[in-house]
């Protein structure tokens, strides 16, 4: 049939799609489908219904034969090809140039499991998977309100990936929603395979070292963020959902904080803030104090330190940088390696290599201890590991070369840079700078849910009341 040939002619390898001529009701017709993407049972049912059904036109089939199926009549060849490539079945009948698109899509997806990056002791264990439909249903189950809006877009010239923008229409700032949609619509790329592909398009400054969008793999976390007035962007094929506006303190919050007693959650949060500060500054302070300001070190500790570093061939800066880089190499290697080998690698790297290097007198045990402490502390805020690792190295170099003078200025420089950042009208360092007192209930402190009566004012929203 001419309509079939028209579509097949667009394919580089027409064998990708299969066409079958059939008697559809009282008309002569043909179906076209991609055998790799269609659901066999659905295909059989549709063909059976068509052959047994009555009718001559596509409208008849929609009305009387395929009333149970999701169908759409398309006049565009390109749209029909897109549907075909998504697993839909195309039906055409003689003397009609149009196509009937019938949903027969088949998905092979993994089950909804707990994401490995956001494991919890208490709280929901569901995680997003690579199927957009499932991910949206997980959100819809949590946000049962007509104001929960899901707007779908297609991104990628070749991948035609479905992207969903989700928000609460009566909470999210319409300007934020508009900006997110505008930025997504502007994307002109051959394809996206994961939500991380759209992230740079959503960020104000993609070159920045600091993340400017929130990422989550758990529907309860994303639902909570949407409830606060944020906009979520879900991408088909990705288990990670992106949220904007984003403020830095979000990285210090964990979904589990809200399932723990508030006192304990507050304690854990303080640990996170202290941990990250410790991780960033400890090696730099160690090097700066040893190189320039040994008078600042308490005398007793100084005596112990002097004994440990006596006879070392490397300067404090070189020694610390060596240990830090060694740690980064071991971390990178163990992440990429198979799990079983990775474990052995960590043991060899951390224990054997570290111990041997200290015994050989190449590095000192205080340097290993400082790096180990700093590295453990780094993992208290997992979302910032990349940023923190780079900053830690930079601070260490500056501390080693310019002492506390350089270190203070480097920290001020970084803070000033963060202070200058704004995304979607949300100051990056809020609620610390600018001070937003009402948001402190859920920043360092995690006040009982009963007291969290307003939505965060650090991010734009049109309804800040959560509890009456």
């Amino acid at each position: 049939m001419e309509q079939i040939e028209r579509i097949k002619g667009k394919f580089e390898t027409p064998s990708n799609v299969v066409s079958r001529e059939l008697k559809a009701g009282e008309a002569r017709g043909a179906v076209l489908y991609n055998p790799d993407l269609v659901d066999d049972a659905a295909l059989r049912a549709v063909v059976f219904a068509l052959e047994k059904g009555e009718g001559k036109t596509l409208e008849d089939f929609v009305r009387y034969v395929l009333y149970e199926n999701e169908t759409e009549i398309s006049e565009s060849v390109n749209d029909s090809i897109n549907s075909l490539l998504s697993g839909d079945l195309l039906l055409c009948v003689e003397n009609d140039a149009r196509y009937l698109v019938i949903n027969t899509r088949s998905y092979t997806t993994r089950s909804v499991t707990e994401p490995p990056t956001e494991t919890v002791m208490r709280g929901p264990r569901e995680g997003f998977i690579e199927d957009l439909k499932t991910n949206l249903s997980l959100l819809e189950r949590r946000l049962k309100t007509p104001s929960f809006a899901i707007e779908k877009l297609t991104v990628g010239r070749k991948t035609k990936t479905n992207v969903a923008v989700c928000y609460l229409a009566d909470v999210a700032d319409p300007r934020v929603v508009k900006k997110v949609k505008k930025r997504l619509e502007k994307i002109d790329i051959d394809g996206i395979t994961d939500s991380h592909y759209v992230t740079p398009f959503l960020e104000e400054n993609p070159l920045s070292l600091f993340p400017q969008v929130g990422i989550a793999e758990k529907p309860d976390v994303v639902a909570a963020k949407i409830l606060e007035g944020r906009v979520a962007v879900a991408v088909d094929g990705s288990p990670i959902v992106v949220t904007v506006p984003f403020v830095l303190v979000e990285d210090f919050q964990s979904g589990e904080d809200y399932y723990q007693r508030s006192g304990f959650a507050t304690f854990v949060r303080i640990l996170r803030y202290a941990g990250l500060s410790f991780a960033l500054l400890l090696p730099a302070l160690y090097v700066a104090l040893q190189n320039f300001h040994y008078t600042l070190i308490p005398v007793r500790f100084m005596i112990t330190l002097m004994a440990a570093i006596k006879g070392l061939p490397l300067s404090p800066l070189a020694e610390t940088l060596f240990v830090l880089l060694l740690f980064e190499v071991i971390r990178e290697a163990s992440v990429r390696m198979p799990r079983a080998v990775g474990m052995a690698m960590s043991i060899v790297g951390a224990l054997v290599l570290g111990e041997t290097a200290v015994n050989a007198g190449v590095i000192s045990s205080p340097a290993v201890m400082v790096t180990a402490l700093s590295s453990i502390a780094l993992f208290t805020v997992p979302n910032l590991i990349g940023t923190s690792s780079v900053l830690r190295l930079a601070f260490t170099v500056i501390g080693g070369l310019c002492g506390l003078f350089g270190l203070i200025l480097a920290v001020l420089f970084t803070l000033h840079y963060i202070c200058s950042m704004n995304g979607y009208g949300a100051p990056y360092l809020a609620p610390f700078a600018p001070l937003v007192y009402s948001d402190f209930k859920d920043t360092i402190e995690r006040a009982p849910i009963k007291e969290l009566k307003t939505r965060p004012r650090s991010i734009p929203n049109i309804n800040d009341t959560r509890q009456a």
Binding site: K182, S420, G425, P460, I462, D464
Partner: protein, 403 residues
Amino acid sequence: MTNTKAQSTHNVSEETDGQITKSKQSTGAQLVVVVFILSLATKMFLLPIYLIQTAGRDGYIILSIEAVFDLVTLGILLAAIALSKDRTFFELLENVIGKIGAKITVAVIALFLFFKLNIAAAETLTFYSDNVFADFDSSVMIIVLLVFLGAVANHTLRALCRLNEFIAPVVAIGIVILITIVLATGFDFANIFPAMRDGAAFKRSLLHNVAWLGDFTPLLLFIGRTKTKKRTAGIAAAAGVIGSAVTVFFSIVMCSAFGNIPHLADSRTNISSILQFSIGNVYGRIDLLSSIFWSIAAFVETALFFYATARCVEYVIGKSAHFKIGLALCVILYFVQIFAMTDPTVFALVVSSLATSVIVSSLSLAAPVLALMCALIMKKRDKKQGNAPSDYSESTKNENYRA
């Protein structure tokens, strides 16, 4: 019932042509913090030493007089900020004395701010080279400071205000620790008596050490760009009084320690070195660490002066070129610092001359008074015309000056 509002509850974003743009204003809380930082940032490093060297144990009285003078200028500036909510200092000047007059005035203020910037930078470098480092190469280390200052010039006033807001608690912690050490170790304040025994020395010192006046001058840039509430000015004034009281308190400590032996006071003499004798080094140099915390305020004050100078230069030139002007100022600052200000003799000569005193004291007062007068005149004009800022849009052809 939920409280659904038609407008966004968020106060930092504005919509223009469907885009979310950023408000360039500072908040009232930020103004308070900036005033606090400015009031105590640099008066504790070199000024008390000069005062002790010239006025002996009465140095703290001179510092108190200077603090009061600065508080008066602060009051005038706060009044101007409260009066002119929409017009910036540059716009006020343009409206009242015309564009050319405004440019000449701003050029003079820019020179004054640059002078103050040099004093702040020199003080910070001296503190670190003489107290924190055994070997400090100013010509290299200043580059790190210049990188920070360059970054400040490239960003908005709002970013700088937020930085102030963020670091203020650290500075406050440093000060509280130092006060605690002073009080806990039973410091003897008896040495400041009897007061005013050498009237001639007192007068000479008072006339020759006024280069530290005018610390609040960068607040000129807050005019028309600060979201003030009814109580903001009062709280900011209180913050200034507290900051000044802290400096006076520590100057009393220093005067009572060195007032009778002024010849021993040099650039290594500061509150940290005095307190070290009280607490020893068993727990590390908590005193020095606290002073270093305090020095963060000096870095930020330097940044404020640099930012204010850069924006004034931009206005005078008539071009919004943050990076180029920032870079040019960094280069000039580098050479001035290296070839003049880091030399103690040249620095002393610059800050102690009578000409400096006359110029600095005049400009410290004149700039705020001018701002207040312009604000009053414009308010009167607006009242006469019966509307809110009338020629506001006309006078702000280049919106970048507001950034």
